[in-house]
Symmetry: C2
Subunit: 150 residues, 2 copies
């Protein structure tokens, strides 16, 4: 585990990241690993936005995980800055190794370092295993996550 | 209704915004309208971040509502940009007038204009009336919202 590294994603990492997105029960139907053009365009938007921290985990130089941390300053809760975690994925070959926990612990610590006092994420109601995982990390499933597709 | 206006919040609007945050069952315990310093500091962070759209609704020049729209570019879902709505409040005097709906419709339209293909928000499980409101607007409560206080 000693060689696990977290670093900013680069454009070169996109094929591997998208492959992880697509290798997932829910992602399979909504990602297009054979057409990467929209992902490269999106990467430019992410990289240009200082509030976005798209992060990959590498072990022995191989991509094993990804997540996106978004820092959101706000007025409510006495001017709390919160972080939002999206797109958490662990490579199939790295599952069951504790990497998901390491990745989330990194994201929580990074949120603290960036001045956040609240970390939040939403998880599809179908991902019951993930819910237990987030609860073990100390998260409370206190909210309902609403989405509207435009 | 014809004079309802939506515009960027300014620092001058902070006392009124915080009063709305505090005039709420959940907000009462976590906001400090008598100590506005943390809110002014937070406002500077919000105003400096191009992804944040802190918006007030005014009617006859009076503050009647607020919400914060955050634009989050990302790689998942074929590089979808999503918007996140936080801190939606309608002034006590303006409740029952359809303002909440107008405010949310504005936020949805603004999200579309800003290139978002998904709008999301979380609502405390205790706010059951709000849940029906979001569902009437077309939102689906498909996710669990997890939070971790740091």
């Amino acid at each position: 585990m000693s060689d696990l590294q977290f670093r900013r994603a680069t454009a070169a990492g996109i094929p591997g990241i998208v492959a992880m997105f697509a290798d997932d029960g829910l992602g399979r139907g909504r990602e297009t690993p054979d057409d990467l053009a929209p992902y490269y365009a999106a990467y430019e938007r992410v990289a240009a936005d200082p509030g976005q921290h798209l992060t990959v985990a590498e072990r022995d130089g191989r991509l094993v995980g990804v997540l996106q941390l978004t820092v959101v300053p706000g007025l409510s809760r006495r001017g709390a800055t919160r972080s939002i975690i999206e797109a958490v994925r662990v490579h199939r070959d790295a599952r069951g190794t504790g990497l998901g926990t390491r990745l989330m612990e990194w994201a929580i610590e990074e949120s603290r370092r960036l001045g956040c006092t609240l970390v939040q994420l939403t998880s599809d109601t179908a991902r019951t295993e993930a819910h237990r995982f987030y609860e073990r990390l100390g998260f409370s499933g206190s909210h309902i996550g609403f989405k509207l597709q435009l």
